[in-house]
């Protein structure tokens, strides 16, 4: 199928990656439309980064088919990188060069003339509000600035699609907000964005649609609100319990057929039928309700949290 002029920009079919016996990505299929922001949400080890690396041409496919703007990633690896901007998980900045030189060298290597690379670097620095850091040593930039510079670099060639692996992991709240703002502006400009994240608030804030990944598979796919409504119901219960009675309470919740997450201070309870979990009859606890979120969806589907390690 030729997607060159269609509205599907990324088309992954039965995408598979194995390392020896380990299956990192287990036959996933998804499509990203033009101008869409699509997220892969899942814990560490879910297969998000491997998927991103396959799309970026940094990891050969074990099986399946993958096209970007109609270009086959396996057969035309070089052509794909003409339409794709990639931000890898580590920023990959060149600490021997200034901020602006990082951009110019990348732009020139990617095919811009020296003069165009220089002009584009100025424009991109201005867009990312890094103009006064143009001459700065990369080592002396804050984590948030380095991240924005890495995103700026992917932007040097005006790509149709940006692939972002964990855009805000390791950033402080202020840095995160800045990156979110700029991604949102890029999105308004019509760029197609594929991003991975293990932050459910990030996925909810930025993504039009997302795939929830676990153990190399997609568990569910849809718009954030839709996923929450479908799989976690409108509200979850939060149960506070005195330590002595904890086991009894947990047993009661389990026997009643609810999913729960025991986070120490609070036990979060979701119902499987989309209704608000009814905890009438549970004694000696304080119960409050809050609106459900994507974390609850993941809990309901995978039986564990996004932030637990494998």
């Amino acid at each position: 199928m030729d997607d060159r002029h269609s509205d599907i920009v990324i088309r992954a079919t039965e995408l598979t990656k194995r390392y020896g016996e380990t299956v990192a990505v287990d036959g996933i299929s998804f499509q990203v439309g033009r101008g869409e922001t699509y997220g892969l949400l899942g814990p560490n080890g879910a297969g998000k980064t491997t998927t991103m690396r396959m799309i970026s041409g940094l990891s050969p496919l074990t099986g399946g088919k993958l096209t970007v703007a109609g270009i086959d990633v396996t057969r035309q690896a070089r052509e794909v990188r003409n339409v794709l901007g990639v931000v890898t998980q580590e920023d990959g900045l060149d600490t021997d060069l200034s901020a602006k030189q990082n951009l110019i060298v990348f732009g020139y290597t990617a095919g811009l003339s020296r003069a165009d690379a220089e002009k584009r670097a100025d424009a991109v620095l201005m867009f990312f509000d890094l103009t006064d850091k143009a001459q700065a040593e990369v080592d002396y930039l804050s984590g948030g600035m380095k991240r924005r510079l890495a995103i700026a670099r992917a932007f040097m060639t005006s790509p149709q699609v940006i692939v972002l692996d964990e855009p805000t992991t390791g950033l402080d709240p202020q840095g995160r907000n800045r990156v979110w703002q700029e991604l949102d502006t890029m999105k308004q400009g019509g760029v197609t964005i594929l991003m991975s994240t293990h932050y459910m608030d990030e996925a909810a804030a930025l993504c039009d649609r997302l795939a929830i990944m676990h153990h190399g598979k997609i568990l569910a796919e849809g718009a954030p609100d839709e996923l929450v409504n479908r799989h976690a119901g409108p509200e979850v219960a939060q149960v506070r319990v005195a330590n002595g009675a904890r086991q009894d309470v947990v047993d009661w919740i389990g026997n009643a057929g609810f999913d729960y997450r025991d986070a120490g201070a609070v036990i979060t309870v979701t119902s499987r039928n989309g209704a608000r979990p009814d905890l009438t009859g549970l004694e000696g606890v304080r119960v409050s309700y809050r609106p459900s979120n994507l974390e609850d969806v993941f809990l309901a589907m995978a039986g564990r949290t996004l932030t637990d390690d494998e």
């Binding site: 940094l58 070089r78 990188r81 900045l93 060149d94 200034s98 290597t109 990617a110």
Partner: protein
């Protein structure tokens, strides 16, 4: 602003190599003063210390005053150190910091990454040869005509040891193992290369080993340009360097690819 540079030669995208070379040139420009130490001070001291210091104690060697005898070897040896340092140490750092990975997100192949780095290690080899050659020429230890030949020998060494350096960069799991490149590989090769004494003075069993060592033929070649007595052995030296580079280059590319694309 679309990407426009699409010139290819035998499937090699020229802009990839130019971009990597440009990166290295910018780094050199940013660090001009510290680089000057590398390019001038160290070889200058070696040249003076050994050429004059040891030279006053030593008679002519192979018909050359000692300082003239060692100048081509020091030039070619310095070319080796520059090439290895750039590609082994620098290459390892660029792997660790994700700089190569970033380059590969542009329309660049692993082979072109290796070629770009080797183009620069050749450039560094030529630069150091010019710097030392200028100092030696000021002392009258090398003449203009033969220095052109020595420069060529240095350029070949730059490419040959650039490939070798990339192999070490791609193989080393950490800096401790990487450092063996200098202590166990580069330094012994330098002192066994015949740069400081004729190979013929070595014990019989060492002699063939010394001749087979990767730097020795290039020292022989460079010295041939200085004495002006060029023969078949010098042609073999050129062929040896070409053959070795032809073997090392695909290995370097394969190892880099294994390290970067997985």
């Amino acid at each position: 602003m679309a990407a426009t540079a699409t010139a290819y030669v035998a499937g090699v995208r020229l802009r990839s190599i130019a971009g990597i070379w440009y990166r290295h040139a910018l780094v050199l420009r940013r660090n001009l003063l510290t680089s000057a130490a590398w390019y001038f001070v160290e070889p200058f001291v070696i040249l003076i210390a050994i050429g004059i210091g040891v030279g006053t104690l030593v008679n002519d060697v192979d018909g050359l005053p000692y300082a003239r005898f060692i100048t081509p070897g020091i030039i070619v040896g310095s070319a080796m150190f520059h090439a290895i340092f750039e590609c082994a140490w620098g290459g390892f750092m660029r792997i660790q910091k994700g700089v190569f990975e970033t380059t590969l997100t542009a329309p660049v192949s692993t082979r072109e990454v290796a070629m770009g780095d080797m183009a620069w290690s050749m450039t560094r080899a030529i630069l150091t040869a010019v710097c030392i050659g200028a100092v030696a020429a000021a002392f009258g230890w090398i003449d203009t005509v033969s220095s052109v030949g020595v420069l060529l020998a240095a350029a070949l060494v730059g490419v040959q040891f650039g490939a070798l350096g990339l192999i070490f960069a791609a193989l080393s799991p950490n800096v401790h193992i990487l450092s063996l490149t200098f202590t166990v590989v580069a330094s012994p090769l330098y002192f066994l290369s015949g740069a400081f004494f004729p190979i013929s003075v070595m014990p019989d069993w060492v002699e063939p080993l010394a001749w087979a060592a990767p730097l020795t033929p290039s020292v022989h070649l460079a010295r041939g340009f200085v004495t002006g007595e060029l023969g078949m052995s010098h042609l073999f030296a050129v062929l040896y360097v070409f053959a070795m580079t032809a073997v090392l280059f695909p290995i370097a590319v394969a190892l880099l690819h294994r390290r970067l694309v997985k």
